[in-house]
């Protein structure tokens, strides 16, 4: 373990960008927890007398069409956006790794079936599939999470399958089997934990992608319901105001969105370096 820590320190000092990503992550998580308490205004309260004001001391990020404080909305939205991303990724991770590791461990028809199903999903234009799911089931928060989860499952399933497949016949697995463990136990306790590191990289990258996906759904009108603040919707709404010069409505939520995705992407990179030292020289 100390070896790992030392390696972690090495990676972080060697790669300051990863350090920045960790800092960003900390910032986002804190914001998600305390956001509603530190927001200077009620994110839902309208004030039509002060609509479309550029950034001022009272409203650092300006106000939107209905006079709502953009800073407060951006801050409060953090929790929801992270929750959507986490929820979707957790679901697809769980489903994908279960399916994938079963396929990889048992092989045979389980493997063929899972592979076929995953190939089918992959053959879809993924964003259009997500759109279709949300449009068909209705644009509720849960459905946005499900849709995002479904389109991510194949990535985890394929990865888990490959990783489990490699380890299926490893010595320590045979040992576990000979010790009388059932296949479920061997898979869950002995094989799968060893596959976790590479999958964590995927999780991190996917978090960013999930946020982007939710934002894109919002852009075409399939996002969370108004007046709930959410970055994607705010960017989509603000986009209409860009030509008329009210750049702040789209810019600030857009920056937050970018920052969050950026953070998860860099984190994914950093984790990869941490987990797979061979990739580095």
């Amino acid at each position: 373990m100390t070896g790992f820590l030392r390696h972690a320190r090495y990676v972080v000092t060697e790669n300051p960008v990863t350090l920045v990503a960790f800092g960003l992550l900390l910032f986002l998580v804190v914001l998600a927890f305390i956001g509603p308490t530190i927001a200077p205004h009620d994110p839902l309260a309208t004030d039509t007398a002060r609509k479309l004001e550029p950034p001022t001391r009272a409203h650092w990020f300006g106000t939107d069409q209905l006079g709502r404080d953009i800073l407060s909305r951006v801050v409060v939205a953090t929790r929801l956006d992270l929750a959507i991303a986490l929820g979707a990724v957790a679901l697809s991770f769980a489903a994908g790794s279960l399916l994938g590791s079963c396929a990889g461990y048992f092989g045979g028809w389980t493997d063929r079936l899972v592979t076929r199903v995953m190939d089918t999903i992959m053959a879809f234009p993924l964003f259009v599939l997500a759109m279709g799911i949300v449009a068909a089931l209705g644009n509720t928060l849960a459905n946005i999470v499900y849709a995002t989860a479904v389109i991510n499952v194949p990535f985890y399933a394929r990865m888990a399958r490959a990783e489990v497949n490699v380890r299926r016949d490893a010595g320590f697995v045979h040992a576990a089997r000979l010790a009388g463990n059932g296949p479920a136990r061997v898979l869950a306790v002995h094989v799968f934990p060893n596959c976790l590191p590479p999958m964590m990289v995927q999780v991190s990258l996917n978090l960013g992608w999930a946020i982007l996906n939710a934002a894109a759904l919002s852009f075409i009108g399939l996002g969370v319901r108004p007046p709930t603040p959410e970055w994607g919707i705010m960017v989509a709404e603000g986009a209409a105001f860009m030509v008329s010069g009210e750049w702040w409505i789209a810019l600030f939520p857009g920056l937050m969105l970018m920052l969050a995705v950026f953070c998860f992407n860099l984190l994914g990179d950093g984790l990869r370096d941490l987990i797979d030292p061979r990739r580095r020289t």
């Binding site: 190939d119 053959a123 879809f124 449009a135 986009a239 860009m242 992407n265 020289t281």
Partner: protein
């Protein structure tokens, strides 16, 4: 060749799955196309008449059978939104999407490959970090946001780019269709001015897509190059005193291309899907914006047609990558 055939046969169950899922998903869409297209003042009776006309009064399995039968005849149905047959709509629009996607991908590759190689030769340097931050920023921006921002800055504020009016500005006429790519067709028919106009329209949307595609390509190139550069045969080559340029480009680059090509295939099909939003922003008459409009109108046939075409492209692309593998690295042979 036999192997290619076998691969294609294997892809068929996947395509069947796509057909079934799209069909069901479409039917689950909340809208009632009959009510939507019966016009603003429709009575219940008028809507029922239209339902019969559209064949929506039949049971679901029956509708599916009719759909499959038509599919077998190469008939993808008629779009209610454009009033045209889906096949002719797709044939007309697919080149637009392909042209845009290929241009975006070419831009991304043009920038990301050198960046990746460069970063790999100096890992850990500030250039490496900058490259990483910049490319990652690109992939962190929602494409529609990038697109709108580019339009705002380069068209509205600076006036450098032409109006986001689709493939050609309104006063130029499209070249005769040969490949369907306006730039190429215009050059083939000897209309450099039209080709220029087409390229100018192409720049902003292609850059929008390119920005998004840069990061994964750069990242993969860097990783692959690093892997190859630390391998034994490169060390041997270096030790043998070969010039570092030769080592880098002749030996390392060629070997690092393998994973990059795989990734390019994936990115291409991903971009073709991500096009949906870019096409909407730039009024690009491709299949993405077509599918989007249709989905919003609960217009089944175009959505089904779009998904089917995309799935087919995906399957063919994967096949092409496998074949390409064999070309780049003769040791790899297609396995069924």
């Amino acid at each position: 060749m036999r192997l290619v055939g076998r691969r294609l046969a294997l892809a068929i169950p996947g395509l069947v799955g796509v057909v079934v899922v799209t069909f069901l998903l479409n039917r689950a869409l909340p809208g009632d196309p009959a009510a939507f297209f019966a016009g603003p003042a429709a009575t219940k009776q008028a809507i029922d008449e239209i339902r019969v006309k559209l064949g929506l009064d039949r049971s679901l399995p029956e509708q599916f059978l009719y759909y499959v039968r038509d599919l077998g005849r190469g008939n993808l149905g008629t779009s209610l939104t454009t009033g045209q047959s889906v096949v002719s709509d797709l044939v007309q629009r697919l080149p637009a999407s392909l042209e845009l996607t290929l241009a975006g991908l070419a831009l991304a590759v043009g920038v990301a490959l050198p960046v990746g190689v460069f970063a790999a030769t100096r890992p850990g340097s500030w250039i490496d970090h900058v490259a990483r931050v910049v490319t990652t920023t690109g992939v962190s921006l929602p494409v529609f946001f990038t697109g709108l921002l580019l339009v705002y800055v380069f068209y509205y504020l600076l006036g450098w780019a032409p109006a986001p009016l689709g493939r050609l500005d309104a006063f130029a006429s499209a070249p005769r269709t040969i490949t369907g790519f306006f730039t190429i067709d215009a050059l083939l028919t000897g209309q450099p001015a039209t080709a220029g106009a087409a390229v100018r329209q192409l720049v902003l949307p292609a850059v929008t897509l390119g920005i998004f595609a840069m990061a994964p390509i750069a990242r993969m190139t860097r990783a692959a190059m690093l892997g190859v550069l630390s391998s034994d045969f490169i060390r041997t080559a270096r030790a043998a005193g070969l010039a570092s340029r030769t080592v880098l480009f002749t030996y390392a680059f060629r070997n690092a291309m393998l994973p990059v090509v795989t990734l390019l295939g994936m990115i291409f099909s991903f971009l073709l899907g991500a096009n949906v939003l870019v096409e909407k922003v730039f009024a690009w008459p491709g299949i993405g914006s077509y599918a989007l409009e249709a989905l919003i109108a609960s217009d089944y046939a175009p959505v089904q047609g779009f998904v089917l075409v995309m799935a087919t492209i995906y399957v063919l692309l994967n096949l092409a990558i496998d074949v390409l593998y064999g070309v780049i690295d003769p040791r790899v042979r297609i396995e069924a």
